[in-house]
């Protein structure tokens, strides 16, 4: 199709789809008027049954825990896929910028920048840890915490240089964190089976409502997700960073 023909067809199709969506959306109950009895039930049951205050966490990790298990593997698969896609191919080399011009060494960061970097990254790390441990109490949980933890690594890059990042993020450790987190979710699910109950059933003590350590497996699953996401996003970032910073295509004539 020519670009013009495509646009014409799209305009017609989009108009028809707009009518379709409009008809469907018009059939919805008016905005803010409905709360399904399922939602009411969960809001009522979750704090009592699971001793959590954040109902979303209870749904994510308990009532619909199997969804989240697969969601974790979506992330794991995406990270594995990105590692595959961005791996150094045979016509590419890894070289640090310094290797190219050894006489032009990059100056080490000034002490003030160092201090700021350490402060900011520790702050992020603490925020991440706070978020993951309070998953059952307040909004936020393993996923958000994982991303925050991973971003702490990138503050180090901003403040220093690529070598430092490579030193502080050993790839095997990140991969292991990614894998252990995902595996941990499966294992906790299997613990339910081993305890003679069903997959992903709560086998731990529920603790007191509002307490940080409450909700039984919900809290532990939050931790595994945090581990997985932190590792995953750190790998993800480092793969893209590698492409920009150190991977070069060998010069060759086509």
């Amino acid at each position: 199709m020519s670009r013009r023909a495509r646009l014409a067809l799209f305009a017609a199709a989009a108009a028809a789809l707009a009518v379709t969506l409009g008809a469907g959306l018009a059939g919805l109950p008016s905005f803010g008027s409905q709360l399904t009895s399922y939602a009411r039930l969960l809001n009522e049951l979750a704090p009592r049954q699971r001793h959590v205050t954040d109902v979303v966490s209870a749904i994510t990790f308990d009532y619909r825990g199997i969804d989240t298990l697969f969601e974790e593997f979506i992330l794991l698969a995406a990270v594995a896929g990105i590692s595959v896609l961005l791996r150094p191919l045979s016509d590419e080399v890894r070289e640090l910028p310094e290797d190219k011009a050894p006489d032009r060494a990059i100056p080490p960061p000034s002490p003030a920048v160092w201090l700021l970097t350490v402060l900011l990254s520790s702050l992020l790390a603490l925020t991440g840890l706070e978020t993951v441990t309070h998953g059952v109490v307040t909004p936020g949980g393993g996923f958000q915490a994982g991303v925050i933890l991973a971003s702490a690594l990138y503050v180090i890059y901003l403040g220093t240089n690529y070598r430092t990042v490579e030193r502080y993020q050993p790839a095997p450790l990140l991969e292991a964190s990614d894998g252990v987190g995902a595996f941990g979710y499966v294992v906790i699910g299997l613990l339910g089976l081993l305890a003679g109950d069903v997959f992903l059933s709560n086998v731990l003590g529920l603790g007191g409502t509002g307490n940080m350590i409450a909700g039984g497996t919900i809290a532990v699953l939050n931790l595994t997700v945090g581990l997985e996401v932190a590792g995953g996003f750190a790998i993800l970032g480092s793969e893209f960073l590698d492409q920009t910073a150190v991977i070069r295509t060998k010069s060759r004539r086509r």
Binding site: D54, V56, T131, P139
Partner: protein, 80 residues
């Protein structure tokens, strides 16, 4: 009151979403997309969805713009 906040957030999201699509230069688009991501987070917050808003901030306003920028850096470097 809360309705008005939601309405403002909805308009913000619709306008910035349109801007994201119509900004054809990817570098500029990355920044507009960050603004759109913040708008979404604000909308979710105004609809009492704290968990989703937090996710949206870490993903839509931090992680994805960062990756887009890194991709652009790679692509531009290749062009030189």
């Amino acid at each position: 009151m809360s309705q008005a906040v939601i309405a403002v957030a909805l308009v913000w999201v619709a306008a910035s979403g349109t801007a994201v699509v119509l900004t054809r230069d990817p570098l500029q688009q990355a920044f507009v997309a960050g603004f759109f991501g913040l708008g979404l987070a604000f909308l979710y917050l105004s609809m009492q969805a704290g968990d989703v808003a937090l996710s949206q901030i870490v993903v839509g306003a931090i992680a994805l713009p960062l990756i887009v920028l890194l991709s652009l850096a790679k692509v531009r470097k290749g062009r030189e």
